[in-house]
């Protein structure tokens, strides 16, 4: 599915705002024709990266290329991009119907029938002033524009604030079926990692402005697991040095350690030592990799409770 030119390529990309470094030496490649998750905590630099990639901001250092070209002030690139952001502003008097009638001026692949079907799916009132829409309805406007524009490169930056679980599922389903019919490049930035994990082909994780994970999603599955067993056995397993410890908990004589770097050899070693291996989700892996809880809404209560009593054995990068 990938073509020769990647959809996005950055090299040493750095963005500073005064003394603050928002992006620090970011080098990533996002293949064309993929759904990529751009994940990380609030303030990690995800939105800054998308601003640079969509030509709304200039790099301080390094380079960003979209479809092989610099995006800033480059109409031939920018016309192929849809950027759906949480904080999208509309003219004061606008109603959703005005958004949908003006969208085809900007997106040559705009499908009005698909947009109309999505309006029904999300039960969006077309004639209400945008200012009077609920938060979820406002998010639906963005999601509809992002899907029906079928832009070769679409960014969804936290697109669904206020959308309920049913509406989010509609978004995922429509995205998957339409993406299958009209392959394109989609970059999805979200805190709801568990919900989107299976949709992703590629995962990029940013923490404090740096890329800490850039990998095909399938390679991440099974790479991390919790190793559970008698403390002495677990410690002996860890001492063999084949895995990296991300998180450790103990209860009585039992230790449960979240480790990264599992392969067939390590798995066999653990099982032969009588240890249990419990899979962890992409979300758990990223929470531990980014040093805490992603945000309050995404973190289940149990996770927060576990954190209060946590003891970190391994070094974080």
């Amino acid at each position: 599915m990938t073509t020769a030119t990647p959809a996005i390529e950055t090299r040493g990309l750095t963005k500073r705002f005064g003394a603050m470094t928002a992006l620090d030496d970011v080098t990533v490649t996002i293949p064309a024709g993929s759904i990529t998750g751009l994940l990380g905590r609030n303030g990690a630099g995800k939105t800054t990266l998308m601003h640079v990639l969509t030509g709304q901001d200039f790099p301080s250092e390094g380079e960003a290329r979209v479809f092989g070209q610099r995006p800033a002030e480059n109409a031939s690139v920018l016309q192929h991009i849809a950027f759906i952001k949480e904080s999208q502003k509309y003219p004061d008097d606008f109603k959703p119907k005005h958004v949908l009638t003006s969208a085809p001026w900007f997106f040559e692949n705009w499908d009005a029938d698909f947009a109309a079907q999505l309006v029904d799916d999300f039960r969006l009132p077309l004639n209400r002033r945008i200012k009077k829409l609920s938060r979820g309805q406002l998010s639906a406007v963005g999601v509809i524009v992002g899907l029906a524009s079928r832009a070769p490169l679409t960014f969804f930056d936290e697109p669904y604030l206020g959308l309920d679980a049913v509406a989010r599922q509609i978004f995922y389903d429509r995205l998957l079926t339409d993406y299958a019919k009209f392959p394109r490049t989609v970059v999805l930035s979200t805190h709801l990692i568990d919900e989107v994990a299976n949709l992703l082909e590629h995962v990029v994780v940013i923490d404090q402005g740096r890329v800490i994970l850039d990998s095909p999603a399938e390679e991440l599955r099974g790479r991390a697991a919790s190793v559970i067993g008698p403390r002495a056995e677990v410690d002996a397993f860890l001492a063999r040095g084949r895995v990296e410890t991300l998180h450790r908990e103990e209860l009585g004589g039992t230790a449960s350690v979240l480790v990264d770097g599992i392969d067939d050899v390590v798995r066999a070693d653990a099982l032969n030592s009588g240890l249990q291996l419990t899979p962890v989700t992409l979300q758990q892996l990223i929470v531990r990799r980014t040093g805490g809880v992603l945000n309050d809404a995404a973190a289940p209560a149990a996770e927060a409770a576990a954190l209060r009593g946590r003891r970190t054995a391994g070094a974080r990068r």
Partner: protein, 131 residues
């Protein structure tokens, strides 16, 4: 239906294999398209395609140009042979490990298996009897 901790494409391949072994997908019948698998399991189409292609590489499925994917003749026997070799690793060894932990020797274990098997054939209903 999709488990954590295991590549999704392997799970897709295994589910197709199960359907072939159980007869839900007959030999020479057409299998769903990659996009249908993706929509049904709510997974990325490229991932579903990787699972299907794995079975094409193994000769279990074959492609009819412009029509779709089909189950190869003889696929069921091939899969059953493959699963039988895995059976010892996947089921028998873990069973022996657990039995050893509880002090059940292999002879007693084999007696337990025969008892359970006799019970299962005596009462076809899935509900379990008391004790």
């Amino acid at each position: 239906m999709i488990d954590e901790g295991k590549p999704i494409f392997l799970q897709i391949a295994e589910q197709i294999e199960n359907d072939i072994i159980e007869g839900a997908l007959a030999e020479e019948s057409q299998v769903p398209s990659t996009n249908e698998f993706a929509a049904f399991h709510r997974i990325n189409p490229a991932t579903a395609g990787k699972g299907v292609n794995l079975l094409v590489d193994e000769g279990v499925l074959y492609k009819k140009r412009g029509i779709g994917m089909f189950v190869a003749t003889g696929a069921r026997d091939v899969l059953i042979t493959k699963r039988r070799t895995q059976f010892v690793d996947d089921y028998v060894r873990p069973l022996l490990t657990e039995a050893a932990k509880l002090g059940i020797d292999p002879r007693t274990l084999s007696g337990l298996i025969q008892d359970a098997s006799a019970e299962a054939s005596a009462e076809p209903a899935p509900s379990r009897a008391h004790g």
